[in-house]
Structures are given as structure tokens and as C-alpha cells.
């Protein structure tokens, strides 16, 4: 070649460049494989803040759980809002909890007042930490 780079050197340079790109692509693939994350395990512990946030008699819905936290004279009661009939999310109404799918109704203790559900809503474990923090567990 007139530029001074021999044909052999050019091919060598091209080969090395291609192998370098291939190596980088391969390395990227390996890193991507190693960095792949599986679906995180579903959350089972929910920090609902300090108990002072909840007035006596209050009923607070947490759609992300889904659950309702009820402050009773005896403490806190957490009910799962998953309908025991087919698993729809139960809605809080002034007179109780109602499933929008098939009309099951529950009282504020989770007891069935109206079918087709026959099982009461699940009661969730409520822990209160020493500093007054409320934690609800769904498992």
C-alpha cells in the first residue's frame, strides 16, 4: 500500500479489532447474564408508620397490601382485603367491606354477612415496635 501500512499489517489490525469487538460483546453478554435478577420475592412485611398516625376508631386502607388497618378500643386489627370467594379486592364501604366482583360483604371483624363468600377475611398479624411503629405481616 502506498500509505506505508502493509497489507499484512492492515489485516492483522482488522483481525485484532474484530476480535476485540467480539470479546467486548461476549463480555457484555456474560455480564448481562451474571447481572440478571430474578423476580423479587413478594413483600410480606409492611411498615405502616407510627401508631399515633391512626386516630381511635379509624379505618385506613392500604391498597398495596391490600389490607385495612382498624384502630379498635383494644388495639389494632388488620384485615386482608382479598375476598375469600375468588380473590378480588374488597372495598371499604360505610357499612362494612364489599367485594365488587360478586357482592360478598363482610363486617369490620371480617365476618361474612352476605355471600357468596363463606370464609371470613384473613386477619393479618400486627406487630408494634418499642418505638410505636406498626408492622403488618401477610405471611
Amino acid at each position: 500500500m502506498s500509505s506505508g501500512v502493509s497489507r499484512r499489517d492492515f489485516l492483522k489490525l482488522a483481525r485484532n479489532a474484530i476480535l476485540t469487538v467480539c470479546g467486548l460483546l461476549g463480555l457484555g453478554g456474560i455480564l448481562r447474564f451474571l447481572a440478571a435478577q430474578t423476580e423479587p420475592a413478594p413483600q410480606t412485611d409492611f411498615d405502616l408508620g407510627l401508631e399515633t398516625r391512626y386516630a381511635p376508631g379509624s379505618r385506613t386502607v392500604f391498597p398495596q397490601i391490600p389490607a385495612i388497618l382498624i384502630r379498635t378500643p383494644d388495639g389494632f386489627l388488620a384485615l386482608s382485603l382479598v375476598c375469600t370467594h375468588l380473590g378480588c379486592t374488597v372495598a371499604s364501604q360505610p357499612d362494612g367491606l364489599t367485594c365488587p366482583c360478586h357482592g360478598s360483604r363482610f363486617d369490620w371483624n371480617g365476618k361474612v354477612t352476605h355471600g357468596p363468600a363463606v370464609q371470613p377475611l384473613s386477619r393479618l398479624r400486627v406487630d408494634i415496635t418499642s418505638d410505636g411503629g406498626i408492622h403488618v405481616h401477610i405471611a
Partner: protein, 417 residues
């Protein structure tokens, strides 16, 4: 040697480039984990724009696969749809038990009002038993009008009608030509039958024949999707859906062919069932399902010869007679069927303590209610319109008190067409 090494590295680069390109264009799946199954599905990757099928079947709870089948993790249409149940219609009776059945769904016990599949698949609208029996008797193939055959073999061990099974109607090739023509031309309108060609006849099969609206309801802003995909189930069934079978013509028994209606009805009175029939105002102003209850339309689990064997609603069911007010029931049980039905189609806010009309078989007419002034109101199940039900007792009705059946009412109250 070096040349081959260069060629090999070039090929390697091409292969890796193709892989990178494919990876960059790979469909990003949209995962859904329905609470009922807990298994991830990727159907929403392509179908996220579909409307929710009904408030009773939210996709977050049911997902898609539990009803439709299909390959839940596939990302290509062909593979994903390769194992769909019933094609696009999982409610077809050939697959309905798998798609819609289950003790908590639609094939549970009658005591929990979830025996829909058993009732619907034994109903007259599916078996067509009376029409088949009449035709076979007319052409001398059977000695009487008793029902022996249906559009499919069906068993109903608990049937209280005296008919516990029907055989498949499949006439031999050597049968009377009229019978063969009937089998070929006249079975379009049972629920599993493929509809006649034409938009006005179009309906799906199985549960969707009635519960998926394929007809535009006049006076509404309803439109049908241009894709032909109608993803909806409803209990608010308009008369227009019933019309896909019941209002488009008649079968000519001489030729055993369907004779389509030639008129083009432009008003509700004429766009209603058979042209020869007579109607009172409520019979054409209301929707079919306002009078023809769930048992009349979907059966009660027993096998019957013909519709009149199970049809029992009379004018007096709602209007009473000269001597008696209509039969009623005060709602005291929160688990009463009436509440379930009203919840599915909330045209009326039914409450404990309300008094509603009931049929002679004590089937609740949940869309009615006794008002404080002693009159009754009725809400149209499809349109939601409110009507006041006039009572015969205390009216100027001059009918013979012993003739309070519907046919007698029609003598005075039919509307001229």
C-alpha cells in the same frame, strides 16, 4: 492460516451483531400475576388495550389463561394462541366446563346458584328438543311428540320433568329429505349453532351467545369495535341480542329453509320478535329479560320438550288479578338470590326490608320494588329505565275474573301493529 482466522473472526462478529440486534428488538413482556392462580402470564404484552370483560371477572384477579387457556409465557401470537380453548370464545359449550366451570364458578351446586352450565346446557335454547320432536313427528319419523333428541347428547339425572336424557339428533343419510334438510338448514339458532351469515344475525356461541353483546342497541352510544373483538360479558342483555335469533324471520316447513324478514322495522314495536305476534305495550317497551327470567331463559336443570313447558310468566305475575295483588316477598335474607342478581346488574339499589315481586315459583323479580304508596316500580334490566306497574285489582278491567291468563289480557291490551 491468518486469512482463515480473519474470516472466522468476521463471521463471529456478524453472529454476535445479529444476536445483539435481536436482543435489542426483543419484546419486553408485560407480566401479570392474577391473584386466583398466582402464575405469571404475558398475555397483556399484546392485549393490554382490551377492556375488562366484566366487573365480576377483573383481570387482576382472574388473569386471562384461567378462562381462555393458551400458553401463558409465550411471546408470539401463534404459540400463545395455540392452545386457546374455543378459539376466541372460551364459553362455547364444547369447552365451557373447563373454561367457566368449577364449584366456585359456574358449575357449582344449585343451592349456591352457581349451576349455570348445567342449566344452560340442558335448556331448550340449547337442546332445541321441541323443534326436533315436532319435525320428526310431522314427517313420520317418531310416533308422538315426545322429546328424544337434542342438538347434542345430554343427561340430566335430576330432571323433574320426566325427561332425564336426550340423544344426539343425527339423522341417517337415508332419512326423509325433509328431515335431512331440517338438520342441515334449521339448527342455526340453538345456542351452539353457528349463526346465519350477516351482521344482524351475528352472535357468538355458548354463554356468549346471550351475554356478549354483538348488536348495537338503538338509542345508545354503543359501538362495536372495528377489530370484531368484543371482550364483554353482561347480564344486562338488550332485546337486540335476543333478536339475532328471535326476530329475523321464520323457517319455512315446506322447504325447510330460513326465510328472512323482508321488512325493515324502524321502531321498537315492529323491531320485536315475530311479525305476526301481538304485544301489549310492556312486552315491546321492556327488554325480553325483564319478563323472561333466568329460569325461563337458561332453564332450571331439567330437560323439557318445548319452551312453553318451562315458560310460566304471566301478565298477572306483575299486575295481579281482579281479585289478588301480585305475589311478593320481603327481603330478609342478605344471601337471597335477588341481591346477587341485583349486584351483577345494579339498575336497582335493593336493600334488606325491600318488598319485591316474585313469580308463582317464587323466583325473584329483583328489578321490581314495592313503593310506599302501594304501587310497584320496575327497572328495565338492560336500559335501566324506571316504570310504574299498574295493578289490575281496583282498575276498570272488565275481564271475566276466571280468565286472567295472559292470552285473555291480550284480547284488550294488544297494540295494533
Amino acid at each position: 492460516m491468518r486469512r482463515w482466522l480473519l474470516i472466522a473472526s468476521g463471521l463471529l462478529l456478524i453472529v454476535l451483531s445479529v444476536i445483539v440486534w435481536q436482543e435489542s428488538h426483543r419484546i419486553k413482556p408485560i407480566a401479570l400475576i392474577p391473584s386466583l392462580t398466582g402464575q405469571v402470564e404475558y398475555c397483556l404484552t399484546c392485549h393490554s388495550n382490551l377492556a375488562q370483560i366484566s366487573s365480576s371477572h377483573p383481570v387482576q384477579t382472574f388473569g386471562c389463561v384461567i378462562c381462555h387457556g393458551g400458553e401463558r409465557l409465550a411471546l408470539t401470537a401463534d404459540l400463545a394462541h395455540s392452545t386457546l380453548r374455543g378459539g376466541a370464545n372460551p364459553s362455547d359449550y364444547s369447552v365451557v366446563q373447563t373454561s367457566c366451570g368449577g364449584a366456585n364458578c359456574h358449575s357449582g351446586p344449585a343451592s349456591s346458584y352457581s349451576d349455570h352450565i348445567q342449566r344452560a346446557t340442558t335448556s331448550i335454547q340449547e337442546t332445541y328438543a321441541g323443534a326436533i320432536a315436532s319435525m320428526l313427528y310431522t314427517f313420520g319419523a317418531e310416533p308422538d311428540l315426545n322429546a328424544r333428541f337434542a342438538t347434542s347428547a345430554v343427561q340430566a339425572p335430576g330432571s323433574t320433568s320426566g325427561i332425564t336424557s336426550l340423544s344426539l339428533f343425527a339423522p341417517a343419510p337415508s332419512s326423509n329429505p325433509a328431515i335431512l334438510a331440517f338438520a342441515s338448514n334449521c339448527l342455526n339458532c340453538h345456542i351452539s349453532g353457528q349463526p346465519l351469515p350477516g351482521a344482524k344475525y351475528f352472535h357468538f356461541t355458548g354463554c356468549a351467545a346471550c351475554h356478549t353483546p354483538t348488536q348495537i342497541v338503538p338509542g345508545t352510544n354503543q359501538t362495536l369495535p372495528p377489530t370484531g373483538q368484543i371482550h364483554k360479558l353482561t347480564t344486562a342483555i338488550s332485546y337486540t341480542q335476543c333478536d339475532t335469533c328471535h326476530n329475523r324471520g321464520n323457517y319455512d316447513l315446506r322447504t325447510m329453509t330460513f326465510q328472512a324478514r323482508q321488512d325493515q322495522p324502524t321502531d321498537r314495536l315492529h323491531d320485536y320478535y315475530q311479525p305476526i305476534a301481538q304485544f301489549t305495550s310492556c312486552e315491546y317497551q321492556l327488554d325480553c329479560i325483564d319478563c323472561h327470567t333466568r329460569v325461563e331463559a337458561m332453564g332450571d336443570g331439567s330437560l323439557y320438550r318445548q319452551e312453553t313447558d318451562i315458560q310460566y310468566i304471566q301478565c298477572k305475575t306483575c299486575h295481579g288479578t281482579l281479585a289478588d295483588l301480585p305475589q311478593t316477598k320481603t327481603m330478609t335474607d342478605p344471601n337471597d338470590l335477588a341481591f346477587r342478581l341485583a349486584q351483577l346488574n345494579p339498575v336497582v339499589d335493593l336493600k334488606l326490608g325491600d318488598t319485591i315481586l316474585v313469580t308463582s315459583k317464587e323466583e325473584p323479580l329483583w328489578n321490581t320494588r314495592l313503593l310506599s304508596d302501594g304501587t310497584y316500580e320496575l327497572f328495565d334490566k338492560a336500559a335501566g329505565a324506571q316504570y310504574t306497574i299498574p295493578l289490575v285489582k281496583g282498575s276498570g278491567c272488565q275481564q271475566d275474573p276466571s280468565r286472567q291468563d295472559s292470552a285473555s289480557c291480550h284480547l284488550c291490551h294488544s297494540v295494533r301493529r
